[in-house]
Symmetry: D3
């Protein structure tokens, strides 16, 4: 690459580095986002981006789920997963399994990938320091929970000490009962509670499209109002709904920008953050200018 090209990238990136220094970016990380490469390579690249973001003063916070892994352990234990309206029916044994998998398997895997670069990531669950307070969604679903409150104190302490928190999305009620909670929703709630600069969903799609099968209809920027209309009109559907609703809610309640990115692109986080063009779909209020 020529010196001129290198200089151009730097001149473009440095102002973003200044702008984002000290800001919180909540990243929802899902297993499916990693389809373009072997899982552990993708995880390593993702971890590297987090480490670089932190290196220039940003505060990434990772939120993750782990549906397939829960199903995996259930199956090994001879338990059949049952779903209702796309939600896993969660009895006492299932919530114990979910807790083990999310807190004891997926979470340390991410923490460990980051900590190869230094002692900087810390695993948390929503049970720690009252982080996620939850309530049962519906009696038929068992221990599937909805977020009622986020207590961000433990996250704020971590952030103030430059740690990268990695959050497993188990919540509890006042009696200490654990619930399994949708990770997309938790990511939005945490972004709100922290007054995050950005809320980022790493997915396995390029971004939102007006016509799903037509890549030329990729939406670059959209406001919460416009996005809500797309849901009503059925343009957005299925598993994207919780992401999209969290984006809309978070941006309306103070998060400056939400992003739906293609997690299969190497260093997609850096490209979104530090280039003028950005990448994927950005959700922002009309009042917020670049």
């Amino acid at each position: 690459m020529s010196a001129e090209s290198r200089a151009a990238v730097l001149v473009e990136a440095l102002p973003y580095i200044q702008r984002f220094a000290g800001q919180v970016v909540v990243v929802k990380y899902g297993g499916n986002a990693l389809a373009g490469a072997s899982d552990s390579d993708a995880l390593a690249l993702f971890a590297k981006d987090l480490v670089l973001m932190r290196a220039v003063g940003m505060h990434p916070v990772v939120v993750h789920g782990g549906g397939p892994q829960i199903s995996g352990l259930m199956s090994r234990l001879g338990k059949t997963a049952e779903f209702r309206d796309g939600l896993r029916v969660t009895d006492a044994e299932t919530i114990d399994i979910a807790r083990m998998v999310l807190i004891g398997q997926v979470n340390p895997q991410i923490v460990s990938a980051i900590n190869i670069h230094g002692p900087i990531a810390v695993g948390l669950s929503g049970e720690d320091a009252g982080l996620i307070r939850a309530v049962a969604r519906h009696a038929d679903l068992g221990f599937v929970g909805d977020v009622t409150a986020i207590n961000p104190m433990i996250l704020e302490g971590m952030i103030a000490n430059d740690f990268i928190p990695v959050v497993a999305t188990i919540g509890t009620d006042a009696a200490g009962q654990a619930y399994n909670i949708n990770a997309d929703t938790v990511a939005g709630a945490i972004a709100e509670a922290l007054g995050a600069e950005k809320l980022v969903y790493l997915t396995d799609i390029e971004g939102l499209r007006l016509v799903v099968d037509d890549p030329t209809t990729l939406i670059r920027q959209i406001s919460p109002d416009e996005l809500e209309r797309l849901v009503v009109d059925g343009v957005v559907a299925g598993g994207m709904i919780p992401k999209v609703e969290s984006c809309v809610g978070a941006v309306r309640r103070g998060v400056r920008r939400a992003h739906i990115l293609d997690g299969r692109i190497p260093h997609v986080l850096l490209l979104e953050l530090f280039t003028d063009d950005g990448i994927g779909t950005m959700i922002r209020s009309k009042e917020v200018f670049p």
Copy 2:
């Protein structure tokens, strides 16, 4: 109880409360300590003591293992536990199971019992923020580790913010490989690293005895040198060895007092801390005066 008796207890306790305010107490919590009552009652009493210690300005740190629970899940998954010299042979699948059980099952159970009283406990594993750096003990044992270094920064941050850390004893090496580590040993290493005032082992025995079967030979106080001689002489043996060696090492390297207590006695922590007589066996240097 008469006013006079109540006043006497208070007059005795208040100076200890002053002395221990701001001090760290590392408590090793083992499942066997709880034999005298139903498990969840014992856990609730233990949690209450931690909450009260914190209420008067102390900084309890909990370290736990979970051997029986690991064996439990292995058995459910159709895996046979193999032991060599009392140590579990730990292959790749076993360490994954140990990690799930310790971090995802036992740890949140303790955290949850404490957090019924407020958002004060936080679960950690040795993988978080480089807390426990480990190395393989012996090729034959697989992923059984020895502690090579404690990085107490994450614990110090928690303590400074009045959180109660609860530590699962999984460690990692530089490449991010996880190891299962003896919790008695970790408790001693953490007490040293934090310059703890006290290191407490909650067990299912009354304390150390000169003659194991003779309750009248209970040792109230003993120095590290004397205690080491008891090991050499075979008076102390078996599962007590890691506890006793950790006590000796910790006291020699700056922990003021180590205690082996009977976890079956309700509120045994409070009784040890806040009464003149204390309880169980205390290990302290001869130079340290009451």
Copy 3:
């Protein structure tokens, strides 16, 4: 005492210790409160309680008078004490005597009893740093004063440095003229000015009674309004009036609780503070819940 009983007292006391840490408790100490024991023993027990309160982070402030001792020196100097409506007529010579006795005799006696435990008590009079600003009550009474303002700065400095201030109730006007002031009233005014948690009167009665001679009518809790009615109805009278009025005023203006205790009970302060039942009579607003 059994371990169980001891544990019960501790479990009960520790939350109060947390609640009261950092709080100010103003204690009016009168000679008559000590009738149950020899004076110096009672003073020693009282001093011990103050030291223990401070040990667990509370900030006791002592306010005292010394009427009998003033009369004593006057008589030794051949001066006859004259009273009008229960108040000592105070000419120039008498105020000099009162000043000598309160500041130079009673005050150092209390300070000295506390300081046997360490360098923690400091004697003050209302002349120091403008602590008590006063005005003459009535021309016929000479230098008998009413409080017009409390300047709590010197007390706040002492409290911030963990000293125990002991206040002799001499006040001054703008010209520097000294006045003798009722100690019960000063205690209330100081409690208000400091935003004290508690205002405590140590007396030689068990507490307030609905029927003075009937111990079964002891009032455990009462609101300022109800208490004022008892004064109007004549149930409370005589020397109790300034105490009761100070309690009413202090509680109405921000002091959480006022107490009339029997100073003859050993460690009565500890028993009131650190047990669920408390002791004596408590005056509190109806809005304040336990």
Copy 4:
């Protein structure tokens, strides 16, 4: 006075004001120093100087005795003062009288004179916060004490908050027994303990003279060694001995300068502090240059 003269005084004074800002000046104030004017006028002028010193950032500390006043009250109570080698034999009753007079009469008189200008002076005795620890000088003298230690913490707190401490020279032993102590000696010990810039004795003489009756032999500056020789040679004698010995000791142990001034000169403190020529006799180490 001409503008030129005024300007000259200011140009001379301002550098001293800078140099002394934040410095401690211990002033021994004795009744005899005030002979040139009516007592209360002299006290008012003295108080004014202290207030002005504080106004420009200095930290005056006043130490006083009160021998004549003690004798006065003893005589009113029908007690004969007995002296041995110039020291008052002090039985239990006498120490009570000394305490009342020094703490309850002389001290508030000085405090009150200062506080006419604002709430800035605070009376202390050596019993407060362990300020003066003492031991009996000789069994025959009763409660006449020698200083064994100064605990300056309470003074340092006052100074940090810009209060002017006024110290009555009663000390105590570990058991709380009070002793009467020479105020000249206490002034020197406090100046040392505080690392004072200056130690000033206000007396009723012009300063030290080589020939007592010859005003032309006034000593302007002298080193501790030279001064000690004057004591050996008998040039300095009588009541000047404790002053002179305190000056020698204090200067040798870190006080920069000691002064013996004529307290009868109005504003003598200001003239000494803020003019090039100074006034009276200055004791300083040869190593200390102007």
Copy 5:
């Protein structure tokens, strides 16, 4: 001078020193003020006053112009100065010359005179850190500017570190174009922006007079309203207008007092600041009492 006289000056001065400690005094220094003595002597005396003011905790800020010196260099470079309504027509070459003279000649001369006493003065121009934002006054005048905003941050930083800023009155617009600005006006604007205690103009007149030729009509104190009337009535005219208008504006917008002093009087700043009578003409709001 007698001790009594010296003491009187000190007693008078010390309260002013207290009152002014920590306060900002903006001094406009003009070449003409120095007519009573050789320039370098006058500058040395002025520098000494600034050093003494700083010594007692004040924060002087110097603002200067340099009209005659600009004309001097123009003439050496063979350029004729042209004036319109008393203002120098300033083309591109002239503003370069003005910048060189003010920033590179007059400013370092003042800085250097102060710094003989220590490293305390720092030269600034209005271009530094956006201190003076300006706009062209009139197309015909070229680069003659009016102040549109003061950014006092750089001055505040200097003041906080006890430096004496010396300001050359070149301002800039958003494009970086330099302008020459009237120094009297800048002094007033800076005094406002800093919330100065005083704004002082050192001139070559005794002060304002009701009748210019009659020294007995010197105005000692005047309010902004009254002063404005004198301008309307033509009593104040010519070069005094910008000074007087700045005084009026500054006092109306928060500067406590403005002064027009005779810079030819040695130590005129000290005499104004530290004596009861002051000197010259003081402009203050009627609401401000001595």
Copy 6:
């Protein structure tokens, strides 16, 4: 440019940004460095680099000379420049001219170019706050000075407040006499005094070469010892000597790296700082690893 290329530049740059955050970089800026473009374009690019460096937390300090400009004004004033051994003979009139040009012309030109981006640059000369203390080099040269001491306090204050200091290299002696000083030397002395991370010379050559006319002999890295040998061997000569000696001295006394760069390359500072390969010649101790 491809996303991959952009990501590669970012992944490379971010760790340098972290490493250099909070570090001081002293940049010597000379007129000749700008030959590749029109002067004002080159200055604008240079200013942009400084602004970007500051944006990511670095602390650039600019040092400049201005020989040609001094000669220019001398010639306009009809004065002939005389040189001895390459040094300008500097009489009283010449130092006044040098002062005007450096402080009043070149310095504000650089300050102004930076401040178009915000109020962040502040012009200083060595006369400000005693920054550069100097002594005459040789009587025959007049007011040509050598640095005897740097007082970095004013620079440290600026840096702490995120200002960019721009230093004109006029120094003074104790009497306030100004001297003209070689800017290369001053840059090295300031880098030492500030413990700079880097000392950078922007020149009009590509870097040091072993054979001046052979571009293939460009030196990429060299130690102080090796570089000194090149001077002895005559490989380095002429105007490069002061630069090279300053580099050697600075690196030996704590500056981590010195650089000789080609100022004609756009964004040369960014390319040196934020790419693995760097650019130009780097001088560093052998002990310092990349």
